[in-house]
């Protein structure tokens, strides 16, 4: 409301005729710019502190364990199911073309290139993004972050940097794990209709897949991990006072992180396409 009045007075002072809607737009655009600057500052602070002296190694290990441990079950289940579904869905088409022996490599390629990284990242956006948002958010509203600051501990360095690094490292590992389970799921599915040994399935699967195929996918999931943790930490770190803002932080963290994962994926696809 105050902002609204300010813009209105400013315009009137310079005899600019502004309608109510354009005043509103000006106000919300200003808010948007302020937020953008905030995000930018936060991210630069995180990067600066990542390379500063006094890395919190214990916190980093703790976060790695937490992230891996928290999402392992979920990733296992989804990995297998994605493999199953992909195989069951693709099979009829390939049978029509008489190319059933392409099935393993097709499933593997789509798992490694796209499904594995994206599904893992989306699940982790939900699981890890929200928990980081909630955790840091509640630390913010209960003044724990302030308490760290007066103990001359930089909360960015102690809380945010280990989380971002751990997530950046763990998401690619979880992705590889999901890929492996997905291929296993694919083999299970292939055995429902046909009969194929694991060795044959794997040979066929990796006939058309090279090690180099993994690299863009791994790089992509590094960025997924970084984005998820940065968003989760930013939302939590900047939670406003009041307990309901913890919920808001967790919620917006999930939404933003999922959206950004999709955007990063879009960009990554364009880049790998160029190569």
């Amino acid at each position: 409301m105050q902002q609204y009045k300010r813009v209105k007075n400013y315009a009137r002072g310079r005899s600019i005729a502004l309608t109510d809607t354009s005043v509103e737009h000006t106000v919300s655009f200003k808010k948007f710019l302020v937020n953008l600057a905030d995000v930018f500052l936060f991210v630069t602070q995180v990067f600066r502190n990542t390379f500063a002296r006094g890395f919190e190694f214990r916190e980093f290990l703790k976060q790695c364990f937490q992230i891996g441990n928290k999402s392992l079950g979920l990733i296992s289940i989804t990995g297998i199911i994605i493999g199953l579904v992909l195989t069951i869905q693709s099979r009829p088409v390939l049978v029509d073309f008489g190319a059933v022996n392409m099935l393993p490599s097709m499933v593997t390629i789509s798992l490694i290139r796209e499904m594995g990284p994206v599904i893992t990242a989306l699940i982790c956006a939900g699981k890890i993004g929200s928990s980081m948002g909630a955790e840091l958010g509640s630390m913010r509203v209960t003044e724990q972050i302030d308490a760290m600051e007066v103990s001359s501990t930089n909360p960015i360095k102690f809380l945010v940097v280990p989380r971002v690094l751990a997530c950046t490292l763990m998401i690619p590992l979880l992705t590889l794990y999901a890929d492996a389970l997905g291929i296993f799921g694919g083999w299970l599915a292939a055995n429902i209709k046909g009969d194929i040994s694991a060795v044959l399935f794997l040979t066929q699967a990796f006939r058309d897949v090279e090690f180099i195929d993994l690299i863009p996918a791994v790089i992509k999931s590094f960025f997924f991990g970084m984005v998820i943790a940065l968003v989760g930490c930013y939302k939590g770190y900047h939670a406003s006072a009041g307990t309901e803002s913890v919920g808001v932080a967790a919620n917006t963290a999930v939404v933003m992180a999922s959206l950004l994962v999709i955007f990063v994926d879009l960009i990554a696809v364009q880049i790998t396409d160029l190569l």
């Binding site: 209960t142 308490a147 760290m148 103990s151 001359s152």
Partner: protein, 258 residues
């Protein structure tokens, strides 16, 4: 009751401090001095900005205008490392205790020790943690998580975490609120002991008149964002100002149930 004339040198000097949030002005013009080895009690109604005042002293909040000097250094002009050096010498008890939820009581107490008093041996750390807990009477809670503690226990652990690094200035935000009279009294006595033993200078925010009586060398009352009155406990108690008396005299005597 103790009577030791505090040194006249001020460790905290605040001049014309202004702080507001958006359109709301909380502190309009506050000036005060905290002398060396003095217990200064800050009184004021809920919402007058007592917590905001002490947060400005450690720069958790940035003052809008005015000067705050701590140990002779202007707080608002310091860079991060210099500010950290000052903060290491200040203890801050949060009104909400602000215990780290993800850590046990022991880890909560070790946190400032390991970060502020670097170079202590493990035995020394253990000993200090134990002593601090003993001071607040909660040795048995050492391996509990904060979520397992009652409100009053959390407050006392917060106090232990504040005093464990032997700070030269201590800012207590309602140290006895939510405690029973017996424990409150023990905490008040502890505050005096810390003052004597470590020559600490303290600002104590409280609504607990027993605590004020025990610890106060000097009292400052805030009203509407400015210092309303300053003086000793006696001077406050004896006056005929209705606003001040409402803090010091029993209220609603005509409404008593028996």
């Amino acid at each position: 009751m103790k009577k030791e004339t505090p040194n006249t040198e001020s460790v905290v000097a605040i001049r014309n401090l202004k702080k507001g949030f958006g359109p709301k002005e909380v502190l309009k013009d506050v000036s005060l001095d905290l002398k060396k080895q003095e217990n200064l009690v800050v009184l004021g109604k809920s919402g007058t900005g007592k917590s905001v005042l002490i947060k400005c002293i450690v720069r958790l909040l940035r003052a809008d205008a005015g000067e705050i000097s701590v140990f002779g250094e202007e707080i608002n002009g310091l860079d991060k490392p210099a500010l950290d050096d000052i903060r290491k010498r200040i203890g801050f008890l949060f009104q909400s205790a602000a215990l780290y939820d993800s850590m046990t009581v022991r880890e909560n107490l070790e946190f400032p020790l390991r970060r502020i008093r670097k170079g202590l041996s493990e035995q020394e750390i253990d000993q200090k943690v134990h002593d601090a807990l003993e001071n607040v009477g909660l040795v048995e809670a050492i391996d509990k998580m904060p979520s397992e503690l009652s409100g009053g226990m959390r407050k006392r652990i917060g106090l232990a975490r504040t005093i464990i690094v032997d700070p030269e200035i201590i800012l207590y935000d309602e140290p006895t609120t939510g405690l029973d009279p017996v424990t409150s009294n023990e905490i008040s006595i502890l505050i005096n002991e810390i003052q004597q033993k470590y020559k600490a200078s303290s600002i104590i925010i409280t609504h607990d008149m027993e605590c004020v009586r025990t610890v106060a060398d000097r009292i400052i009352m805030l009203k509407e964002g400015a210092v309303y009155k300053e003086g000793s406990f006696k001077e406050f108690q004896g006056g005929d100002d209705d606003y001040i008396n409402s803090f010091f005299k029993p209220q609603n005597t005509e409404l008593n149930k028996n």
